[in-house]
Subunit: 350 residues, 2 copies
């Protein structure tokens, strides 16, 4: 009789932050790939692109011009999915057709005046400046009583729907708590009520003991592949201090976070020697809704690539209709990322 | 003071089947698209491809050869994500690292011996033969006491991760109830406990009264864009009779379903004059777990295209980290699909 092994047998794993499960099929990487291979557009962007709406001095869709900024630059999205000026309203017919208005604000943040950079190619100092802006924006948005949640994120790469290669991120804030945050709040609250400790702090302690999924740590952050990762090379940055949001980060923590982001994204780029696409974003406590002692700041990275720079994982079919599924194990992914150099492949080749 | 309007103001809508919300941004389609444009690979497949592992007579990865079949043909996936021969086992460390074994079976079903067809290009009779096979497979899989859920689905198109253009679908069955089905079971059960009626039957009645999202109906099925659709042209086929699974479909219902699939997929192809990609699949009651009087058979279509044959909706960034978001309204999508001819654009051009 065989014994059950996580690195050999199909199994499900629990996401302790959301209560959701992922199906892991460790044996499935043997499948030959006959499907879609993405184009790799050669990346020879100029430092300044006169047609880019994020480059310094250029015009934008709303008629404004960007200042000739030197670090980062923040403005309201000209094609925002959420608008501040949304009238109140709701609809409910027999609990079958149910809708609510949604008020919000979408900000865009250019990470650098240089059109041809990406986070791993920026210095720790320059990334620290971005982290500072994230914190400032968070604090000033939270100053609006009606805002209940602030989502800071980055879509990187064409394959992730990023419509402009200029290094930039977004901040969507809104008058409600979005679903992913509601789920994570529930689970953290329940754990905290029982243990009086942070769920993620306890999880991190266990991961440190096991040392199977941790990629690296610095003074204030740990970077790991979560046990329940869905995307092939999904990772999470967890703050070592139990704080609910970026608001509370000290100068030392902000620099450590910048360093962690630089190392992680460099390892990502080195994995397939490509500018590694992902959606990444911070999860933090809601604002203007009282205290959330259970909330523990963290940042998710969801990258789509599976086998190479041009073959991604498709979250389709069974995944959309039934349950997310992954092929390589989180432990395999963590090992691969651990092995990767912290020197960017472009630099080491130059 | 403005009044709140679903077709003008950002809002959220409730998915009554899952309890989840979607953010709708009706004003956002004005956004110019500067992002990724998909390749459209010209489709000039031969009727028979000697290298295709689904064509009649050809060899497969496991060493077997396909018979020279004339309708459809079913076999076990040579690179299955789920395996029947999975040892029992589980893991739980402090409720932080939680995993369970997952036993299952993955079947592949070729819809036609002809390599160059797709469902909309097949006759109603030929699609009825596929529906018959779905029913037979469902019944025979359900004959295994350990199988608890049977997911019948199709991934169509390279953009949906389909690794072989030969018309085919898949059936994954497993010893557990996957998450999407668990959510839909909960919501239907709760509604049924209160009203003693099927949630989807009541919903369909209300949609028929409103007539804003119904695309078409035939004797036994209605096809509509659900009020809470996430994907731009997402649709749902709902059976008019309240039955829990395909097992109970009569010959007349099976023919009606084939007809509904032919019309819907033809309209899809006509929308952007392309072979319209999607993931589609039936949702039905679990098996071998007792009675599910609340369960109401339906089939979801999740297509990614948004603006044209080459510009899709990216479910990334905010969507992955916070909440799904859509640009065009479900009502707009329903109207567009309603307008589309039921004659396939290739035929009408021939
Ligand atoms: O089984 P296929 O067609 O090779 O693979 C496709 O469908 C599967 C089931 O939806 C997914 O898990 C894969 O990511 C996708 O590429
Ligand atoms: O805002 P962008 O970069 O134009 O658009 C991108 O990010 C948004 C937020 O994640 C998504 O809603 C869009 O689908 C995606 O294309």
């Amino acid at each position: 009789n065989q014994t059950f092994e996580l690195d050999n047998n199909p199994h499900t794993r629990l996401n302790i932050l959301t209560g959701e499960w992922v199906l892991v099929s460790p044996h499935r990487t043997k499948r030959p790939w006959q499907g879609k291979v993405e184009d790799i557009t050669p990346d020879n962007r100029p430092e300044y692109d006169p047609k880019c709406y994020l480059c310094p001095g250029n015009g934008r869709a709303d008629g404004d011009s960007n200042p000739s900024y030197t670090d980062s630059f923040v403005f309201n999205n000209d094609f925002a999915a959420l608008l501040e000026d949304t009238p109140a309203g709701e609809m409910n017919e027999d609990d079958l057709l149910v809708a609510n208005n949604q008020r919000g604000l979408c900000r865009v943040i250019s990470f650098s005046p240089k059109h041809n950079l990406t986070l791993p190619e920026m210095s720790v100092e320059a990334i620290t400046a971005v982290v500072n802006v994230w914190q400032q924006e968070f604090n000033s948005l939270a100053g609006n009583e009606w805002i209940k949640y602030i989502q800071i994120f980055e879509n990187k790469g064409e394959i992730m729907g990023c419509s402009n290669p200029h290094p930039h991120g977004q901040i969507w804030s809104l008058g409600d708590v979005p679903m992913e945050i509601a789920k994570e709040t529930d689970r953290q609250k329940t754990y905290y009520a029982i243990h009086r400790r942070s769920l993620l702090a306890d999880y991190l302690k266990l991961e440190q003991k096991k040392n199977e999924r941790i990629i690296f740590e610095n003074d204030h952050f740990a970077v790991l592949v979560p046990f329940w990762a869905v995307w092939p090379y999904e990772t999470m940055i967890i703050s070592k201090r139990h704080v609910g949001s970026i608001k509370l980060f000290s100068a030392a923590e902000k620099k450590s976070l910048a360093e962690a982001i630089k190392i992680l994204t460099t390892k990502y780029d080195n994995l397939f020697e490509t500018s590694f696409p992902y959606s990444a974003g911070m999860h933090q406590a809601p604002v203007n809704l009282g205290d959330y002692p259970e909330w523990h700041w963290h940042m998710h990275f969801y990258p789509p690539l599976l086998r190479s720079a041009s073959v991604k994982k498709f979250m389709v079919g069974y995944e959309m209709l039934a349950n997310p599924q992954r092929d390589i194990t989180p432990e395999f992914a963590a090992n691969r990322l651990k092995e990767m150099s912290t020197i960017h492949y472009k630099t080491s080749k130059a």
